[in-house]
Amino acid sequence: MRSQETAAVPSAPSAEPGKVGRWFRTLSKQKALVLMSVPFVIWIFIFKYVPLWGWTIAFQHYRPNLGMFEQEWVGLEQFRFLFSDDSFLRVLRNTLAMAVIKLVLGFVTAIALAILLNEVRIAFFKRAVQTISYLPHFISWVVAANIISTALSIDGGIVNELLMWLGIIDRPIMWLGVGHYFWGILGASEVWKDVGWNTIVYLAAMTMIDPSQYEAAEIDGANRMQRIQHITLPGLKPVIIILLIMNLGNILETGFEPQYLMGNGMNADYSENLEIFVLKYGISMGNFSLATAAGIFKTVVSFILLFGANSLAKRLGEQRLF
């Protein structure tokens, strides 16, 4: 965010009445602009700011049939219940595991693929690989989950057939039926869906690296790996750090769709994350207060991580987000 934009709202109406008058006179001349923007400010107020008030229901014993001011306030009781609840702690463990896998795997694979693409010298081949690798990004998770569960199925799924043909396993494995495979399957699915798309930013950053650096390195006798290690990777470092900070802020946003769509009774112990917990308690069981408390917990942790990562980057003298 630009610093000027984070500054306060217009400070124009000041003490002098003349100034206030002038401010309103100018504004009335701009009534077309006002009419074009203010309705949408009202819209965003209703749809994005009003729900923030909904956070209060985490501190209540919310009953939907009562009005806003008739609710019973219970303080932190919902949070206390949350942390003594085994299923919440398990969901928290799953969320953290998925978050770490997603972060590490997502970064490593995207950077590696971007570097490999950057080293391709046949322009046509490079373009073709890029176009094809973007493809899974454009399909919905519903379609992706269908494709993945077909590939993993026990009757004729390609994964089992391939592994059996290679002699790695001797009978088909029900991949989505064994809980502790789920994190790995999720990580692989996310890589399959987004690795190509995630290379875009890195490839854009690589075009900014001065080609003469590569030429000079080559004259000095650096080989491919050395050039990647000493020119390409340092060139990417600022982008990597910024993306890392942004992703740390979102780390608990492990998504909802793949877990929900590929989860089932057999792998629920490993596939349920915070979002599913909120959905289950909130929408299915109608315990709005507890579900909101879980949601708030997630947001607060995200903010702490975002600011923590940012100040760490500052202390290390690296690029930072704000």
């Binding site: 400010v41 107020f45 729900p51 956070w55 379609v143 080989n223 909120v278 987000l321």
Partner: protein, 321 residues
């Protein structure tokens, strides 16, 4: 976020020339690297494409023949019965219409509204400019969460209505910033001269800004279109009891849920066992494959042609956001 790194990416000096493929002596190590790189990337292509091609082959194969298994890249017993069946089924036909409708209406409304606000906050003399900008940008970091949003939709009486697909998303803040950056990059004189010629703000916006900002609007339209077409969660959350507001993605999601639950007489198989189905010889597996293709085909056909817009939007948004 005009981050330092992002500025480096965006505003950093442009390479004077596209990076040359400089002719040079290739060491054996270099060639080995190229070979492995080629093999690895080819494997990646196969890994990405195979599941789609396999699904396509199953959807184009006779359903009874598919039960035998062993279909990989090509249909063994070619037949269009699966597609005929899917489109004769009233539920799916209707869901396809709703999907198209929400994609078209949602995209037009979002692009138009986002562009209009983007235009007002690109005008340097607009007194409320900073207020409007801050109000919108803050929402990128603040989120009420699932339950408060659900309660809001309930209170606004949007549950069980088509408009719950459109109204909550009429402005994407990210989209708005992409468009604003683009408008700010237009030559200032163009907008000024329209104003001197006596055009009002709205007319300037409609007749000057929209045509000039088309590349940015195309980017935003594409992001929104893909999002609308692929959405299923809002259907599930708000309209799961309204059969006439179901979408293609949601119908497919229900089929997946049924096949996951593994019970012998689920509604997907009931679906396939209905009178119509037995006449046409379809199975849950082949219907699911067919639906998967139908639900993804529009995106798969469209995106290669629009790839440059997507990539541009991605880098502009990431850089200037």
């Amino acid at each position: 976020m005009a981050t330092p790194a992002a500025q480096q990416v965006g505003a950093g000096k442009k390479p004077e020339k596209p990076r040359k493929v400089y002719k040079r002596f290739q060491s054996p190590g270099d060639r080995l690297f190229d070979l492995f790189n080629f093999i690895f990337l080819s494997l990646l292509v196969i890994f990405t494409l195979y599941p789609f091609l396999n699904t396509l082959a199953v959807s184009l194969n006779n359903a009874n023949d598919s039960i035998r298994g062993g279909i990989y890249l090509l249909p063994r017993d070619f037949s269009l019965d699966n597609y005929k069946y899917v489109f004769q089924e009233a539920t799916i036909f209707h869901a396809t219409l709703v999907s198209i409708l929400r994609t078209v209406i949602g995209t037009i409304v979002t692009v138009f509204c986002s562009a209009m606000v983007a235009y007002t906050i690109s005008r340097p003399e607009f007194l409320l400019r900073r207020f409007v900008t801050v109000t919108f940008i803050l929402t990128m970091y603040l989120n009420g969460g699932l339950i408060p949003n659900y309660l809001l939709m309930r209170d606004l009486d949007l549950i069980g209505s088509f408009w719950v697909y459109i109204v909550p998303g009429i402005i994407g803040v990210f989209n708005m910033i992409v468009i604003r950056s683009f408008i700010e990059g237009l030559p200032e004189g163009i907008i000024e001269s329209a104003r001197i010629d006596g055009a009002g703000e709205f007319r300037t916006f409609m007749q000057i800004v929209i045509p000039l900002a088309l590349p940015a609007l195309a980017t935003v339209a594409l992001f929104t279109g893909v999002f609308q077409w692929n959405s299923w969660f809002d259907v599930f959350l708000y309209n799961s009891e309204k059969a006439n507001l179901s979408t293609l993605q949601y119908e497919l999601m229900k089929m997946l849920a049924n096949s996951n639950s593994n019970s012998s007489m689920t509604s997907a198989s009931a679906f396939a066992n209905s009178a119509n189905a037995s006449a046409n010889f379809v199975t849950p597996t082949s219907i699911r494959a067919t639906m998967t293709i139908v639900a993804s085909l529009p995106m798969i056909i469209v995106y290669p042609f629009l790839q440059k817009y997507f990539v541009k939007g991605m880098t502009v948004g990431g850089v200037k956001g």
